[in-house]
Amino acid sequence: MNNDIPSIPKRVGAIKFGLISPREVRKMSVTAIITADTYDDDGYPIDMGLMDLRLGVIDPGLKCKTCGSRAGECPGHFGHIDLVAPVIHVGFNKTIRKTLRSVCRNCSRLLLDASKKQEFLDQLNTCKEMGHLPDNIINEVFKEARKSKTCPYCSTEQLEIKFEKPSDYIEDGHKLTPTEIRDRFENIPDEDVKVLGMDPASARPEWMILTVLPVPPVTVRPSITLESGQRSEDDLTHKLVDIIRINQRFQENRDAGAPQLIIEDLWELLQYHVTTFFDNEVSGVPPARHRSGRPLKTLTQRLKGKEGRFRGSLSGKRVNFSARTVVSPDPNLSINEVGVPFAIAMHMTIPEKVTTRNLELLRMYVQRGNGVHPGANYAIRDDGRRIRISETNKEELAEKIEVGWTVERQLMDGDIVLFNRQPSLHKMSIMAHRVKVLPFKTFRLNPAVCPPYNADFDGDEMNMHVLQTEESRAEASILMQVQENILSPRFGGPIIGGIHDHISGLFLLTRNENRITKNAALELLRKSDIRDLPEPASYSEEGEPLWNGKQIFSQILPKGLYLEFPAQACFKCDTCKKKDCEYDAYVVIEDGEMLQGTIDEQAIGAFKGKVLDKVMKEYGSEAGAKFVDDFTRLAIRGVMKTGLSFGISDEDIPVTAKVQIGNLLNEAEARVQKLIEAYEAKELEPLPGRTLDETIEMKIMQELGKARDQTGNIAGKQLGLENSAVLMAKSGARGSMLNLTQMAACVGQQAVRGERIRRGYAGRTLPHFDKGDLGADAHGFVKASYKSGLNPTEYFFHAIGGREGLVDTAVRTSQSGYLQRRLVNALQDLEVQYDGSVRETRGVIVQFKYGEDGIDSTKSDYSKPEAIHRIVRRVTGKEVN
């Protein structure tokens, strides 16, 4: 019909699980294993031993006696051990117990009458038809069958069967041997097996009791040859040796007619070894240990858990060509770059094909060897042989190199690599950077790319992956470079942008009429490619030309940029005066020239930056990246010019203000006291939908919250923009006015789960208060500021509130992580097609148009026609309505 959509891929129709029968084990076995020894004195595998050549080969050079393949090709073949006496398979203890209790001890029939059986069978069939899990019905069968005290068929009285860990079944004080259990199971008729939810063709209950043990191929349990030439066997082999030994001893003793007691002991021992062969962590069984005391890793341990076969080997992948180290900042790097330590660059390689054009260059790398930086570590001949380049053979190899070879040269400046920080929660967690090889031992990155990685420099480590093919490098540089990811598809705005000092720096630079001399101006702009300065804004009394900060910032703006927006410092007046803003909080940029306003978080901040957003969308990602590079460098120099520091004295407020705050808090406390009195006198009106207790709590919280805010206002009035904490809070660089309030004025109410602190002793939080005291200080209101210091009870309440925060974050991250994992797993195959529809792998449509509107948010101007309006305005000179 059409070839645009791939046909529905092949799917696994069904998987059938069953029990393996002794007959099947023997059928798939290539040999019985009878000796516990592995190798003879010459180091050759013994026939019918655990390393029998028919079980497959692992030593190079030998051929498998079953399939004739060599090591690596031979998949391995199973053998078997005939157990002298049956033993229980630990994994089926639960089913064995339930089955044992629901079949007759004499005639082995299911302890239900015929009609009941038929009823359950019908239920199971309908369940199967509907595709539901039959677990509930089967459990019901077991429950019903267990109730019968006498067999409905042979009228035998049924005895209570007790299960004792790990695998003993005790009936009326007498222990059932596996043989007895097996006999009972063997006699269960096929029809009854079906009622138990088993398919008698593929899972007879007696197969849960082992009479023959499959021996896994040697490829599953390879032995390692140590440096000393000694062989070290796999844990599974050790376990199998134990099983064979006991099996033999059992046989000998029984043949010799040993007393029942000894036989029983040996039987139990055999049971122990077979049990630990399957699972070495069964409760009630001491784990089998290595000579060194280390518990053996047997079958279950190989599969289970995070490092098991499923999670560790099948779902988890490990890679080569990767490096990991601590990250640290370097504002002089471009956002597209990553600083790579020499030590790492010299280990990571990029394969380069030798052609006539690069022959000489690559020869030089080879000649330099692996010990000098731009060198090479490996040469690959045209026949595919890899040769490690060393001090001794570098000259010789350099001679030999010719077209057709491949040289694995060391990582160099300009190579493209992937850079990643876990947890990789969104696509910006892995981005492509260009390498800059630097001294010292940390990865260096521009602090502006911290937000997408969510990185900081308190010891964070990051990973680097070196791309090995031309295609991957091309794809990475087109799709994954940092500059291609400045705009986040989550909200269509920049996720990369100025942080902390970048914002403070540009705020300080562009605020007010900075008077900047020529020298200072050149110093500020020296890292940007600026060749000319504009007309000076003014002249000093000496006639020296002076520029202002807005002019300096304009130099890094692209020509033709028009933009108007209120800054972060905007006071949100009732009617915005726009260009006449008296706080210089309205930014106006015309033709790439900043006319007024102050640059702050709203202009260049990560997640917000309007200027950056505009530059990205109108001038492209390259210009965007250049703009980020430029403004970060300008900002760093800007903040260094003024300097920005914060100390304990910055939290000082005048005594009058302190008194004011004290009075205010006292008044608030008095009001709270009044509320409490009203409450106790039962005069308080409950709020709609609330109890009286809730009402008083809410009112107190409100009162105290209001008080804290008011103290903040008092403190705020004393501290102006000359205070660096205020400056940082108002510009959006770091911190908030609330932080400052807590430092200088009043910490405020400590809360647990959004309520005042109530836990502690009976009727009170601490023995320092009266029982039933509802007062502010008795329930975690901290009057003090961090500067003034907290009193002991306040300190304690503060610790309670602080601990809740920590617990919350810990719980939230694990919960949201799991939620995201489930979402990603469910949605990972969805793809936007060229026709704009979202489809899954079978071609089934999920959305007819991506996001209903088919818009790529990173390319849309927040779905507003601003750009068109501006173009119309510029061409016609008239506003669009």
Binding site: N2, I5, D835, G843, V844, F848, E852, D853
Partner: protein
């Protein structure tokens, strides 16, 4: 007796049974078979309300914040 129509509720978008030729053009537009459409069960209250049968395709007209009106097509299944 139900005294109101589900479709009158503001949260329920407009559902209508598609005509044969309109359906054809939609399937052609996306180059798909009917089975590749999203599904909806006949027992769904809104499907019962409009009386669609298994095998019918319903056209849903949703009010979208970003695209004003967005169309969605679902195949009614058992």
């Amino acid at each position: 007796m139900r005294k109101f129509s589900l479709l009158d509720h503001q949260l329920i978008p407009k559902h209508e049974i598609m005509l044969e030729d309109e359906l054809k053009s939609v399937l052609k537009q996306y180059a798909i078979e009917k089975e590749q459409l999203p599904k909806i069960k006949v027992v769904d209250p809104v499907i019962q309300e409009i009386g669609a049968q298994v095998g019918d395709v319903v056209k849903i007209t949703r009010i979208s914040q970003t695209a004003d009106e967005a169309f969605y097509y679902r195949l009614v299944i058992a």
